[in-house]
């Protein structure tokens, strides 16, 4: 009886995970960071499965590994929420929508790419995507400011300038942030040692 209940709740979690990733993936236009903002809204704000700090850690991991960020993030969130099965379920949820859409489009792709209605609707949706991302950025950014750490704010600004204005490869930015973290720890340890 008890194990059946447990089994059922696991099944509910997996179903919810599948439907959430399917839904997010079907509507997420643009690169991998877009899907991370949608995942944050869904899994952190709505379902409370993951806290905000951990979501950002997972985002950093997803970004650091090779492959599509959306798929990497799905793997991590899936593992975190429901283990191995969760990973499989959320990968399938994430890749199914693009697979279906691209399969359909591959049969009449030239017409699709030049269709005026499609272009209009997509243009408007771009505005919506920009709004969604910047809304999430406002929330995340104000939490970084709340830490009242000069180092965090400096990293935020420096990373932004590096990627947006200087077009520096994301990998180098991630590596630099990792180095800063290690150095901070070393300096802290040395201070403690000399005291």
């Amino acid at each position: 009886m008890k194990s059946e209940k447990k089994h059922n709740s696991k099944l509910t979690t997996l179903t919810k995970l599948f439907l959430s990733t399917l839904y997010i993936s079907a509507f997420t236009f643009g690169g991998g960071f877009v899907i991370i903002t949608f995942m944050k809204r869904k899994f952190v704000d709505e379902l409370h499965w993951i806290d905000e700090e951990e979501m950002l850690n997972l985002a950093a991991l997803a970004q650091s590994a090779p492959g599509a960020i959306a798929v990497n993030a799905a793997i991590l969130v899936g593992w975190r929420v429901a283990g191995f099965l969760g990973m499989i379920v959320s990968i399938i949820g994430t890749i199914l929508p693009p697979m279906i859409i691209l399969s359909v489009i591959s049969f009449f792709y030239a017409e699709f790419a030049t269709n005026l209605y499609v272009t209009f609707a997509l243009k408007g949706m771009q505005a919506g995507v920009a709004a969604v991302i910047l809304d999430v950025v406002f929330g995340l950014g104000s939490n970084v400011l709340k830490e009242k750490s000069i180092l965090s704010v400096t990293i935020l600004i420096a990373a932004f300038i590096a990627t947006y204005f200087l077009d520096i490869n994301v990998i180098f930015i991630i590596l630099a942030a990792i180095m800063v973290g290690i150095m901070k720890e070393l300096i802290y340890l040395r201070k403690e040692h000399t005291l």
């Binding site: 997803a62 959306a70 693009p98 859409i101 792709y109 947006y164 942030a177």
Partner: protein
Amino acid sequence: MIYLQLLLSFMQVGLFSIGGGYAAIPLIQNQVVDTHSWLTLNEFTNLITIAEMTPGPIAVNSATFVGIRVAGFGGAVISTFGCILPSCFIVSLLAFIYYKFKGVSTIQSVLSSLRPAVVALIAAAGLSILQLVLFNDDSIMLKNINWIGAATFLTAFIILRKWKWNPILVMSLCGVFSLIINLI
């Protein structure tokens, strides 16, 4: 045989594209156009346009498209499987390390420096999309402002910030609004 070729090609794409979407494009081109001639360069350019207009990672979109053209639906499944397989192993390994050592203070320190960097990366991604929306071509000048785009963005942003509407609903409404206003 063709299945094996597709699998190996897209495994390479999955394994070596670090840094998401745009990083994968040259790798896909190398495999699909230069090495195997599965698509012409023109077809490939169309594919990238479509991939950017439709949901999903560019690598998965390309794998599906190329796979279907070369070997039908089975080809699409095999290619997609190939491009996510390396991620599954590497990401699982990273996750294992993360959960095993996340209490260690060095890892904590690294993660706390990574978080603001990730916020900055998300901000930059959002702003480059906003730039596409606000200006009619690449040059950022006042006379090039797309007022409809700007108004759509602002309205959507305020609705999201103030009333916390469902983001996917807001996005779909933006699409419908843009379609209607362009047709009038």
